[in-house]
Symmetry: C2
């Protein structure tokens, strides 16, 4: 096996690129940097969407929809925000095309120039806070707990499918609160939701932390994040939740009358995860045979493949296959019975391995005689023969087992790849090995930037609940009060 | 009541505009022509989304996602298509802003001009068929049955919330087939899905038909549609399904190897419904007190309002309210128990009427003594007192009754507003009265356009299964073989 893909050890990056395309997850489009999310990839994203959406609603949030376009002037209202987002945005300047006078296709109609250019949203704080201004008069209007599922555009120069694309899909929560405390609680609560989702659904262990000033979202007072570790030892930021203070309320003059009858500025959070999670999912679990999907996010949880020769056998096997499918579906599993005669069983095995289907049931003529089936699990590639009557129970149990096993595997991998270092030499050696590096830092942006320039490593986060500990900065030797987590990151 | 809104008889158009905003469905944004869909409105759209998505999947379709942007040259590939869509599109010409040298905000960076302009998708046939070219080699790759949930932009000059906005949300199905017959069956099948959704979920009766050549989608060989009648006698096109022939396969050179080993062009359909359905829903059922929602699409199906004075009473009532809520939820209903003491019961009654909650349960101190509750239905505004033990059954039954009743009401209204006419005078009189007008037409675009210029009426459709009947065109007197449906339309 593994013939479909470059192996991870040979070239991890190429392995990833090939896997995304060959497993039918996504592909590059005719538009630079924009991807096509193919049906199989989109089905996984839909499962992520549904699980997250449920969690958002359970924590009191509602969905809404705000415009795709942001007036150029809105971006400038918050100084840090424009600095962060103006550099890479799609700008709409005209609203009409016309036939080229020379008859060759269409050209932009110069008479249809917009008075003010519109930016395709890179994120929606500005348009949403301009809207909230009309929604908020008194403390009775607070909190506002809105989420939006949307597409956004950031004009990235170097793109990679799911990890960094010019257009991507995401959700962005935008909340408004009467007090600082409430907003801070909200930002942390949503970080917890993200961590729970990553660990329980994606089976990806994450470290919750807070970003340094240098790595904060443009316009935030604090950016909380969940950081995951990929199999190649690189970190991946899987979600962020921002405490925005009163920055956007100031920028858009959003005030409320408090219980004492005084005007106050509103407090804000925003938080988001994107189709980037697909990249994290793929790189956390998959192997040289292809995708390994956690059962909770697998579009097909069990595939049934009969091994037959000729139509007569096929008919008998179809009976068994359909029965198994119905029985498994009755247990709530999503099942595909693939009895196509246009592809050989071996090809099908490889294909479903490539696509990460957690469990495969196969049976041939002898199984039919013996009343057995072969059950193979994708995570360990183990297979075993069982009496057909046990198949449904085994598959049901395997869902939990596989979900738990790939989480544990990722957790063990991470545990083995967090290195504590105390000197610059150790730091460089640890980075070369890969993984998170826990080291002392003097707390200045200057040092953080210098370390990045020397090593490409960034401070991924200061973990929440980080123990205080006296130490010396690995670069400057200046005193430090706690270790932070460095890594080379996606 | 009715104090919140202009009445329909006074000014239907103003009634609609006020209702959309006051019932918290949507509002205009800071961006010309783009709307904000507020949480309550979005919750209805989500229910529409979920029901439709389920129906699409049950008919074998899968979701995918294609780029927001379309290279300008793609639009020109299909001659009719560019003619239809180039006139009203948002054009991205640059990919960066920079700080204004004079320090005032940001300006478009002239050095960041795109080589080829990008169009924000008004519809996705071109980008999707450029993708399908890579997906289709042989008959084994067909059919492709993809749907996309997305935002699209059409630069409308005169916009109205939900009915006509520059940006709107929709789904667009794009299918590829080996034969003409299969594509035609698909286009008709999806029309049936739309009609079923409109009638069973929205409780809006629709007429299925085919558009005249003049009213076809730009690039289609046939456009099927469902047409609904609003309370003011205007028609509204609620969904369309297009048989595209081989036009887009030609434009993007999409061929497949058939079973005989020959190259053939692929056959196509596309079909879509949008947030415009929200407009149809609102205008079909609502009254001068506000929205009337079909229970199947109501975010809150039952609201429970206690009528109390003081905290002690409130506590007793909370017990009953919470019990009723739990019992109703156990039956699968979505319920809100509103025991806020910041608003009076009368205000709440009016508010939930305005928002179209199908059933209201209210109880006061005397009800508590008597073991009764008052149950009011939104569609008829009738209220009656029942023993509290019957409340759950009554509410459950009312869901079906209200759903059926508002459908029947709309159906009766439509039946009373289809007028057969045989002369121009009758035609003008019928149009003045409103509704669909069934009349003979000579079959030429010239006459169709002339009628539109004289009366603003358009041919909404030639109903499917329309009986053939000899007659004379109401305008030209030329012979006609069948009646078609005219109306003034949204």
């Amino acid at each position: 096996m593994g013939k479909f893909l470059t192996s991870r050890s040979e070239n991890y990056s190429q392995w990833y690129n090939e896997l995304v395309v060959k497993a039918d997850l996504a592909e590059n489009s005719a538009v630079r940097g924009c991807m096509v999310i193919k049906p199989y990839g989109y089905a996984i994203w839909e499962k992520m969407h549904d699980a997250l959406d449920k969690m958002f609603k359970e924590t009191g949030h509602v969905n809404a929809y705000f415009p795709l376009f942001i007036p150029k002037s809105f971006l400038s209202r918050e100084a840090d925000h424009v600095e962060g987002f103006a550099k890479e945005c799609a700008v709409v300047t005209h609203y009409r095309l016309k036939t080229n006078p020379d008859g060759s296709g269409v050209i932009v109609d110069p008479e249809a120039k917009l008075e003010e250019e519109l930016i395709v949203r890179p994120t929606s704080e500005t348009i949403i806070w301009s809207t909230y201004k009309n929604w908020i008069q008194s403390y009775r209007d607070l909190p506002i707990l809105c989420n939006q599922w949307a597409n956004v555009v950031r004009w990235e120069m170097r793109t990679r499918l799911f990890l960094r694309t010019a257009e991507f899909l995401w959700q962005e929560g935008h909340t408004a609160h009467a007090t600082k405390e409430e907003a801070e609680v909200e930002a942390r609560k949503m970080l917890d939701v993200y961590a729970k989702f990553a660990e329980e659904f994606m089976a990806v262990p994450v470290i919750k932390g807070v970003k340094t000033a240098n790595e904060r979202f443009a316009g935030a007072l604090d950016t909380y994040c969940i950081e995951a570790l990929m199999q190649d030892g690189k970190a991946l930021q899987a979600g962020t939740s921002h405490f925005l203070g009163q920055n956007f309320a100031k920028a858009f003059d959003v005030k409320f009358l408090n219980k004492e009858g005084k005007q106050e500025l509103v407090w804000a959070t925003s938080w988001g995860v994107s189709t980037r999670l697909m990249g994290a999912l793929i790189m956390s679990h998959s192997d040289d045979n292809g995708l390994v999907l956690p059962p909770k996010l697998a579009p097909i949880q069990v595939v049934i493949v009969p091994i037959f020769k000729g139509d007569e056998e096929n008919a008998k096997m179809r009976e068994l296959g359909n029965k198994l499918k119905a029985d498994l579906e009755a247990k709530g599993l999503s099942v595909k019975f693939d009895d196509r005669d246009t592809q050989k069983p071996g090809w099908k095995f490889a294909q479903y391995e490539l696509q990460g289907v957690p469990v495969r049931i196969a049976f041939g003529a002898r199984d039919l005689e013996n009343g057995t089936v072969e059950i193979a699990r994708r995570d360990t590639l183990e297979k075993e023969t069982y009496p057909v009557g046990q198949a449904v129970d085994i598959c049901t149990k395997l869902m939990d087992e596989i979900q738990a096993n790939i989480y544990k595997k990722a957790l063990d991998f991470r545990a083995a790849n967090i290195t504590k270092v105390d000197t610059w030499e150790e730091f460089e050696a640890a980075l070369a090995k890969g993984g998170f590096v826990s080291a002392h830092w003097d707390g200045t942006t200057e040092t953080e930037v210098a370390i990045k320039e020397k090593t490409k490593a960034t401070i991924r986060c200061i973990p929440l609940g980080n123990p205080l500990e006296e130490g010396k900065c690995i670069l400057t030797g200046k005193p430090s009060k706690q270790r932070v987590l460095f890594a080379i990151a996606y």
